[in-house]
Structures are given as structure tokens and as C-alpha cells.
């Protein structure tokens, strides 16, 4: 196990864009510890760029924002890490045995309160225990681990949470961009989505391409550091360049979609949104990914998340996600909204 020291310096290290110290805990996968960096060397593509190809996924338990019980602490204690790891192992074992998270201990449907997001866990892709890291939040800057919302955005987030599943759903404008099968945006693409959100990275000379499974979102990123153009796009315009073995991607030219419903306000696009991402592969199956989000129309200051991402087995595939073509749910939501209103 490759432990590296935890300290406040590590946090600052992230802010100054140096690699941070992931501290995989005791329940790292039994074979091929993703953080075992001892004997590993960064492979290169045939044309000499660092090779990040494969299917990647976020598989850890770190929440985006620091939960209240960890307030003031950037890192978990050993005991906390051990307990979370133990629960993860138990959940994984339950899933393997056919007892799902939604069904643990329950004798009938009535025992489980509806949270609005459940199905049998066999639809999920968490067959193995998720990884536990010492970070108490993905957000490492600001130091409180919280999204630095503007007042308007905070209000928008509260409103969005309150109306989720409740409505009103009067027209196709009311569901969020994901429910409309448009996109969930770029900001959380490397770590969000159903079951973690698979991303395939394919490299060709001059390009790094990321194909995200959900919505078939696709980012073709030129890595020659060319200047940005000016055409606004849902996924912005990304231009990358290499700094040593780190891929740095700057994305701008987003349109103002703040008047759309977004599942997560912190992923919404405004025309002031600017992203800087850093991708660094640190082991055969581990990537350290950071994203700095700047958007004066949503946040009072830039914020940075540091996300450990895992490379899956070579034979892992991305499957078609023809969301719009199969979107019965949207129609059903709208007809339900109409039926409900007409019954009142």
C-alpha cells in the first residue's frame, strides 16, 4: 500500500496544480491497486503523447461537498475510513448475494420509503466495493469544501431540489436537461452519471477524445494549444495541451443556459463559464483529475474538485445510450402532469 503523508500542504499543492496525494484505504481492490505507483511508468502513444486510453470511471465514496459531520476537516480519521470501507464491503457482498441496497432487511415494499430513485440494484454497476479515500469532499478549494454559490444560484439550487419529482411538469421545458435527453454538461462528466458514468478515452495524433456513455456526450479535444474559436456549444469548446505528462484542458464558449432546468445547478452553463481540467495518470489504473470551475454568474469565486478516477478492464465497452430515441419517460411525465392537473 502506498501511503503518502496527509497535510494542509497537500491541499495547497492541489491549488497550485501539483499532483495531490490520494490515500487509498484498506479496501482498495485486491488485485492491481490503482494507486500502486512504485514500478509503473507512464505509457506513451506511438506518436509520443502520454497514453490515457481506456474506459475510466469514478468509483469512490467521496461526496462533492463536505458533509456537516466533517465540518472543518479535510480528511477522515483512520476509524472513519475503516468503517466506510467495511460498509462498502458489506454492500458489495449483499449485491452479489442478490440482496440489494434497496432491499436490505426489508420484508415488503412498504418497509422501504420511496426516495424517488430506486430500482433493484442489479441495474447498477457497483458489483465491487467502492474505493475509500481520506478526502472528506471532492471540493478541495475553497477550504470549507463547499460550493461557493452566489445568492441567486443558491436560491436556484434550493428551488431545483424542492421541485425535483414534484413539478410542475407542464411542458417539455420543465424536466431538467438530462430528463430531456439533452446533456448534463461538461463539469461533472468525468465522475457523474448513472453508475458512475463511463468515459472512454481514445487518442489519435493531435487529439484526445472523450466519449461519455450517458447521452453519448462526446468531447473531441485538440491538444495543439490552438486559440479558441467563438461558437458557443453545450459542451463548450475545449483546447488542450501537454504539460509534461499532464493534459491540461481549457474549455470556454459556453452558451447561457441558466434559464433551463438543470439537475445540478453547479453543472449549469452560463456564457461566463470557464473550466480548467488537469488529467494525470498516476498508475496503471488510476488517474488524478482536477477541475477548476469559474463562473461569476453562478459562483462567487472559482472552485476546484480533485477526483480519483479508475481505469476499468481492457474489455470494458461503452454501449449505445440512445436516450432521446427511447425517452418514453418524458412523455409519461408530461401526460401525468396533465392528468394530475385535470383531476384537481
Amino acid at each position: 500500500m502506498d501511503h503518502r503523508p496527509v497535510s494542509a500542504v497537500s491541499i495547497l499543492a492541489v491549488i497550485v496544480m501539483l499532483p495531490f496525494a490520494p490515500l487509498a484505504a484498506q479496501n482498495a481492490p485486491t488485485a492491481g491497486d490503482p494507486t500502486d505507483a512504485r514500478a509503473w511508468q507512464q505509457p506513451l502513444t506511438p506518436w509520443g503523447d502520454p497514453d490515457f486510453q481506456g474506459v475510466w470511471r469514478y468509483e469512490a465514496t467521496i461526496p462533492l461537498e463536505r458533509p456537516p459531520r466533517y465540518e472543518g476537516r479535510a480528511f477522515l480519521t483512520d476509524e472513519e475510513v475503516a468503517e466506510i470501507a467495511r460498509v462498502e464491503e458489506e454492500l458489495a457482498a449483499n449485491r452479489l448475494a442478490g440482496l440489494d441496497g434497496a432491499a436490505v432487511g426489508r420484508q415488503s415494499l412498504e418497509d422501504s420509503p420511496i426516495r424517488g430513485n430506486e430500482y433493484n440494484a442489479f441495474w447498477q454497476d457497483h458489483g465491487r466495493a467502492r474505493q475509500v479515500y481520506r478526502q472528506t469532499s471532492l471540493i478541495v478549494d475553497p477550504a470549507d469544501g463547499k460550493l461557493p454559490y452566489t445568492d441567486d444560484a443558491r436560491e436556484a439550487a434550493a428551488r431545483s431540489t424542492a421541485r425535483y419529482g414534484v413539478g410542475p411538469y407542464e411542458s417539455y421545458l420543465d424536466p431538467d436537461t438530462g430528463e430531456r435527453c439533452l446533456t448534463d454538461g461538461v463539469t461533472a462528466m468525468m465522475w457523474q452519471g448513472p453508475n458512475g458514468g463511463h468515459n472512454r478515452i481514445v487518442q489519435s495524433p493531435g487529439y484526445v477524445t472523450i466519449v461519455h456513455e450517458e447521452y453519448l456526450d462526446r468531447r473531441i479535444i485538440p491538444v495543439d494549444g490552438r486559440p479558441h474559436g467563438g461558437i458557443p456549444q453545450w459542451l463548450g469548446e475545449s483546447v488542450g495541451h501537454w504539460e509534461g505528462e499532464t493534459l491540461v484542458v481549457e474549455t470556454t464558449n459556453f452558451p447561457d443556459k441558466t434559464n433551463y432546468e438543470w439537475a445540478s445547478i453547479w453543472t449549469r452553463t452560463s456564457d461566463a463559464l470557464h473550466l480548467v481540467e488537469r488529467f494525470q495518470r498516476v498508475g496503471p489504473n488510476a488517474m488524478e483529475y482536477t477541475i477548476t470551475v469559474e463562473d461569476p454568474k453562478t459562483f462567487t469565486r472559482p472552485w476546484t474538485a480533485a477526483v480519483p478516477i479508475t481505469r476499468l478492464a481492457d474489455n470494458t465497452q461503452i454501449y449505445e445510450y440512445a436516450c432521446h430515441e427511447g425517452n418514453y419517460a418524458l412523455k409519461n411525465m408530461l401526460s401525468a402532469g396533465r392528468a394530475t392537473a385535470e383531476n384537481e
Binding site: A102, R128, P194, H198, Q317, G326, N332, A336, T340
Partner: protein
Amino acid sequence: MRTDLVIGLAVIGQVLATLPVSAHHAFAAEFDANQPVKLEGTVARMEWISPHSWLHLDVAKPDGSVERWMIEGGPPNALFRRGITQESLPVGTEIIVEGFRARDGSFRANGRDITFADGSRPFVGSFSSGSP
């Protein structure tokens, strides 16, 4: 066992509360938590599509008629990565579905819990192919 279970559930609650926001499912916009259903029937057709797969279920009524229900499931891609294919739930398979009925009163429900008659679940028993 019971004590462990209570603690387990509490921790699970904690863990689940810390999950990043996950897949869209505005359940309450589509389905009515006050209309639980339990349907026993046979698979007429399985649509392995996203964002939700749809299981078309023929439910025989006591009077001999057959109702065709559409049951909403999760996205199939996770199952595909575990080696499940479109052949895995053949037409004619007997299935029990517990869920909640669509708000607009149609023969539609979410497949909150899908099991075989013996209580076992389809599609379990294997890790993701992404396991190391």
C-alpha cells in the same frame, strides 16, 4: 443480527446520503406512491433501451382477459457489462413486479422490485466486467 442490521441501515443511510447526485429519475412525476401494484405475468417483450429499459408484461386476470403492462426499469448498459444480453430474459418468462402505478392511470408502472416466483432476482450474481 437485528442490531447489526439497524446499525447497517444507519450507516447505509449515511453512505447513500453522500453519493453524488445520480441518475435522473423524477419518480414522483411519473408514478404515484399511493398506488402500489404487484403484478404477476409473463414477459411479452423486453426493450433494452436507455434511459430506461421497458419490460412489456402480460398479466392474466381472473376473468381470463390479459392486460399488457409496461414496466420501467433501469438503463441496461450496466447489465451488458456483466454479460447480460438481450437473450437473458426470454419472452414467456414468468416474473413478479412490485412497483407503483403511473399517475395518468395507464397500464404502466415502475419495476421497483423484479423477482422470479421463487423470490430470486434476475441478473444478479456477477461482478461488473470492470473488476480488476
